[in-house]
Symmetry: C2
Subunit: 660 residues, 2 copies
């Protein structure tokens, strides 16, 4: 169903209902661009840390506009063993709703716009008929404005026409305005004397003059008249004055309040859909969804926080349960039988054996998509086939059970290992961003950081390292790159060999990280004040894990039903202690496994090797976590990272552990 | 005529012809936004200097996209005493023409987009079918790329398939690619042996592999085969190898060259229209056209220079003769009889007495506009009515001649006083930006600079200065504003009175300018290098008025016909001397006249008082200027600014000076 400004209000209840009844939701966004800085290659370096990747995307992708949002809800009908699907395609645009509302500026990237244009994207629908929205802060401010006006008009006998800054004493009228104001007062006197006339339209005048009129009348006539500003057809503003009794005044007041409430709802607009998704606590599926999640939060909730850990907290509040189908498809048992994890290819692959195409029908009154005639890159369609992919893969997991199950629900424990882990595109040795705790920290002891003249090309690096056998190059910018060798032992040889080189410089990954850290510290020292600020912040963080700000996003009452209880958390004290430090310690043995695994697969360009921390963890996940919360350990949970690469979901199930 | 990507090439000759035969051109642009920083009020402060205004617009307006360009050409038909008009409405979009071409990012301002959407603007036409363009530097780079390729393939027996970076010795093949390359070589050996086959399609492979193939073949088979990269329908790139003799090779080479030339022309795209306008040297009319001119230069020529004076030089090269109808309408003899100078109102006003609506018809095959059903804010329509306004006003000037003339041509000396002066919106005492020399420098000795807490509003300032009679407030930002008093003598009283104030601070305009200058100097001292840079630049400027860069814009040969010879200038040496300094000296008397004039009119919000430097200057303008050029005085001409406000064109003509 196409959702635009003109039909949004009338159909919003259908969206609410679809979310309410759904087993899971699939989403997708289309943006006006991807990167306003580096090329996508540099934006997604193979050895980015999750922090670096987050900061790069935050810096270079958030000024674009998410202008189409696809939402597809899936509800399982057990009688007919099929899914009923409702698809919504929202066009979104920050249309200023009044002269004082935020005038959003957003960036467009020509290549992205051209790409969408070639797909038949309808820009007129976005710009002429896109649904407006407000983030939480803008909504709060607007609500306050209305509240302030209302409290002034209700309290202490003040009247509706008092502007927020009106003084209670005679206002000082500039010399050149005195004549004008005197004339207005004269007219009002006439109105009050005259029994026949009830209303008086003043001539259009300037904003300053209107202010003077409001102030003068508030002081001269505290009761008995109602003052209102209207607009002519030519958009000139003028004041209407009417004589009213107390009852009439109240009726007008209520009318005004109802109208304001509706205006406010209209202004919040599309954000109400995101609030409904957040409040539902339903599983939300996306394909390669990190950017979608970041944009959604940035545009409809709040500017993205500086720290990755804070971003994780906010995300957990907005989207309590996320599942990324690109990560799922790149993970065992799918990894070995799925070559191409791009959405279109994945959808095709999952129609063939050993997978089964899912039985999905459109709900009555909703248009259906035909996957044979692709409508890729329409957000609603992409969300739809993302949902199809999820169903096929989830059902496939059921085939390993004994007895096998044909239908695996969105509530099944089989899929929990994939929760809240977002695919990290083109990172070689960290398959996902872990929203539920610290990220993997592979040692990268086979990686070199190389700087060189900007004329160098990949082939020059291949030539430089030709003695070292297979290498892999990950460009950082014009003059630097990471080079990974096949053997960690070669690293020191390369560094030693390069000591007297003039045109290039080689350091180990560890040296590079250390130097970067020191540089960052020095930069912070520049102004002592800002340094002190950082220190204060650090101390503060040790005391509380939830800032008042992030608490704000949790105020909506979640209708929690599952054991994954993060969205039920309330702000709690976090004890700073040794355990906190232990949580980021990882044994050498574990990291070696990640490394070797990454290297083995290093020739695959996009399908990063992905293995999920599993063991039996996910079976005890919910209750254990809940227990820890009660003990007051907060968000940074003290879960040791499980061994990688060995015990995957696939193995686990083959070992005969019966999970449903 | 609507001009989009799909019909541009076929209709470009019509544009060229229309420009060629025209008496004058009118232009207008539509942008994706106005200001990405301050509000328009702060962007256009009433006491901006021309430098400040230029810098603000450059900083806050140039990241938007000019995406619709209107061009309307007017040719006078003396037989029927009417103008024949050809109108073109170009949709412009920086569609990347290849994978390596610039990927332009541009900003959109929601309010501007919403405004255009309400006018029925077709965004799909821009984004799906906009005409691409390149600025001069991009064009140069692309041309060089092609030239380099060609010179390599022509010179020293090298072959067409040599990539620019190919080495002349055996290339080093990475270990893991050796097998792949060996296989390719084997296939080519087969092709060469086999007499039946002429062509060989290789499998699609990576860019790196293609490079290795090119390099290997260039070394192994310097003659006898032709190598080309093609694309499959799925956009996968693959290499085609064919056996060719010398003749066939040359034919292919020429074919390729012609195709490249066409590609290059397509890429330069809409910029060719602007080049044609520049080369024609025709009078170009616009309404409030400073932003149009800045955007046109920025988008189709070069990033705007840092200095206003350099901007003036570049502008004079791109648009040798400009006329701004908003300035014209705000200047005597029009000022007194035209109340509202907004384009729509002006057009209506000029249909009534004492003006005569001009006789204008569309050329055959060109659609006509109906001014009764307004299509305002379509660039082509706006350009059209701008042209109408110009004709009416120019003809009106003819009515003062004896005998009166009904038709005043675009070549008449009567309109020369309005040349190359662009309306400065909302500046109180400087009506225009003078492209032909230094700008007016009013003393502003009745102006105060006030800083205050950010809670203050205009009324607080009125209150503060209530003892001083009429004042005028020009907001700079949240915490500062200029306040102009009616009497310069009051200034010192205000400053003295404020000495012990705590919440606000008052300084004279002169003190403010001085302090700003010092601040700027201090800022420059921060890094000594950058300071030296400035110094070097300053010295350089004293020696040459034309930088090599600005010379670049003048290479196109102008077909000069009139005496206004600026566009014929070639780079010349400028003598630094006392005359140069004299040129910016203005007598107190002159400035007082400007001031009092400005103050008198200070209540009109938009129609700035505009008076043109006139005296008899414009009569001797052309020849005098040309003479000075010959003497090597260069651009900064040593014209003393004429007395303001007294001798206007109107007076001049009334005084009986016969000008045609």
């Amino acid at each position: 169903m196409e959702m635009i400004r003109s039909n949004f209000k009338n159909n919003l209840h259908k969206v609410y209902q679809a979310i309410e009844e759904a087993d899971f939701l699939a989403i997708d966004g289309e943006f006006s661009g991807i990167s306003d800085g580096p090329s996508v290659t540099a934006l997604t370096n193979g050895f980015d840390t999750p922090e670096e990747r987050y900061h790069k995307l935050k810096k270079h992708s958030m000024d674009f506009l998410l202008f189409q949002f696809g939402l597809c809800t899936f509800k399982y009908d057990s009688t007919d063993s099929k899914y009923i699907m409702k698809s919504f395609n929202f066009y979104v645009f920050p249309k200023p709703f009044s002269r004082t509302s935020p005038d959003v500026k957003f960036v467009c990237q020509s290549s992205s716009i051209d790409f969408l244009a070639n797909q038949g994207f309808d820009f007129n629908k976005v710009f002429r008929n896109g649904i407006p929205y407000l983030n939480q802060e803008e909504e709060r401010q607007l609500r306050e404005q209305y509240d302030e006006k209302r409290s002034q008009s209700n309290g202490a006998g003040a009247l509706s026409y008092i502007s927020p800054n009106a003084s209670k004493c005679p206002v000082i009228i500039p010399e050149d305005q005195k004549k004008f104001i005197d004339k207005v007062v004269e007219k009002i006197e006439d109105l009050i004397q005259n029994e026949e006339n009830k209303n008086l339209d003043l001539e259009p005048c300037t904003g300053f003059q209107r202010k003077l009129i409001y102030q003068t009348l508030s002081w001269k006539y505290p009761k008995g008249i109602h003052v209102e500003t209207l607009e002519t057809e030519k958009k000139e503003r003028y004041i209407v004055i009417s004589k009213v009794d107390e009852e009439e005044r109240k009726r007008r007041e209520q009318q005004k309040h109802a109208k304001e409430q509706e205006e406010l709802n209209d202004a919040v607009g599309f954000s109400r859909v995101i609030h409904a998704i957040a409040n539902s606590g339903k599983l939300v599926i996306g394909h390669n969804m990190l950017l979608d999640v970041m944009h959604t939060i940035h545009q409809f909730y709040c500017p993205l926080p500086e720290d990755l850990s804070e971003f994780k907290e906010v995300t957990t509040c907005v989207f309590p349960r996320l599942l990324d189908t690109k990560l799922m498809a790149s993970t065992q048992p799918f990894k070995d039988i799925i070559n191409n994890t791009s959405l279109a290819e994945l959808e095709k692959r999952l129609k063939e054996a050993p997978f089964n195409p899912p039985k999905v029908e459109s709900a009555e009154g909703f248009p259906s998509y035909d996957t044979a005639s692709e409508q890729l890159h329409e957000a609603g369609y992409d969300a739809y086939i993302t949902g199809l992919c999820f169903i096929s893969m989830a059902n496939f997991l059921g085939s390993f059970l004994s007895p096998p199950k044909i239908h695996v629900s969105a509530r099944s424990k089989l899929i929990e290992p994939f929760f809240n882990k977002l695919f990290l595109m083109r990172v070689m040795d960290i398959p996902y961003l872990n929203l539920e705790g610290p990220d993997l920290q592979p040692k990268r002891d086979h990686v070199l950081h190389v700087t060189f003249p900007k004329e160098w090309k990949t082939s020059d690096l291949y030539q430089l390292f030709s003695a070292f056998g297979n290498i892999q190059v990950s460009w950082i910018d014009d003059t630097s790159a990471f080079v990974s060798l096949s053997q960690p032992e070669q690293v020191q040889i390369a560094v030693n060999t390069s000591k007297y080189a003039e045109s290039y410089r080689i350091q180990t990954y560890a040296e590079y990280v250390e130097k970067k850290h020191v540089d960052k510290q020095n930069k912070r020292k520049w102004t002592e004040n800002s340094w002190k600020e950082v220190e204060r912040k650090r101390l503060k963080t040790q005391c509380t894990s939830y800032s008042p700000q992030s608490r704000y996003y949790c105020v909506n009452s979640f209708t929690a039903t599952s054991a994954v209880g993060k969205r039920n958390m309330s702000p709690i004290q976090e004890e700073a202690g040794s355990e906190d430090i232990e949580s980021v310690e990882i044994s050498d043995c574990e990291l070696d496994q990640t490394d070797s695994c990454a290297r083995k697969n290093s020739l695959q360009p996009e399908a990063s090797p992905a293995v999920l921390p599993s063991s039996l963890k996910f079976l005890i996940h919910g209750s254990q976590q809940l227990e820890r919360r009660k003990q007051g350990l907060g968000f940074r949970e003290i879960t040791r990272l499980a061994p990688l690469g060995s015990h995957t979901v696939f193995n686990l199930i083959k070992c005969g552990v019966g999970v449903v």
